[in-house]
Amino acid sequence: MTGRDHIRCTDAPIDPEAEHRLMRGKLIGDGAMVSFTGIARPVAQDDKNIVTLRLQHYPGFTEGSIAKGVAQARARWGIGQCHIVHRVGDMAPGDPIVFVATSARHRRAAFEATDFLMDWLKTEAAFWKCEITDNGTTWIEPRAKDIQDSQRWKDKVDG
């Protein structure tokens, strides 16, 4: 983790535009900035309406698990700034749950690094998520699609 990395878990609502502005203010000569905003979905895996999404994290350990992904992204794409904010605790459908942004001299690096970091967050980062519906509480595991997406980066390294 360098001074160009911002990794934060917060139980306060995320303001994606405030984070975007904070990150953009730190750019030094980069021509490209890519951001991802994830929004809590209204429908659970069992098709019931979600009342509350609960995200647990292990302070310190979770940020460390994110930092490992950031280090990989830095090594691979030579990104400039990296800014990751993740909501934890209880949230409602429609709330921003994650904001990830990277910058780079050229856009391809920023697109790929942000894409990679989202796959990392979805499969490797230490979060525990449960969906609370009228049916009760269900702990979530990474979707098969998320694991498949994260596999793309390994294929490229091996190939």
């Binding site: 310190g60 499969t123 979060f127 525990w128 595991e141």
Partner: protein
């Protein structure tokens, strides 16, 4: 806490619904595996979670193998398979 070695036990995800986070005495040379065995006897339903291939244990914030020996003052975290963000 007084007398003998203790650890601080933390538990995340589904396992956190079964195990109560607390201070807990450990015997000399107690391994993570021995701790898990004891917890599985105390908490019904825990065994299936512990045997999940993606279940992990962290000691002082670093993931360790189950043969790791615990020491006085360790922070031991039972980590259910992560959900991702």
């Amino acid at each position: 806490m007084s007398g003998g070695a203790h650890i601080t036990l933390l538990a995340f995800g589904q396992v956190g619904e079964m195990v109560i986070e607390n201070q807990r005495p450990i015997s000399a040379g107690e391994t993570v595996e021995k701790l898990l065995n004891a917890l599985c006897i105390e908490h019904s339903g825990l065994e299936a979670s512990v045997e999940h291939p993606r279940f992990r244990v962290a000691v002082n914030q670093a993931v360790v193998p189950f043969g790791h020996i615990l020491r006085d003052g360790d922070e031991v975290a039972l980590l259910s398979p992560v959900s991702g963000g």
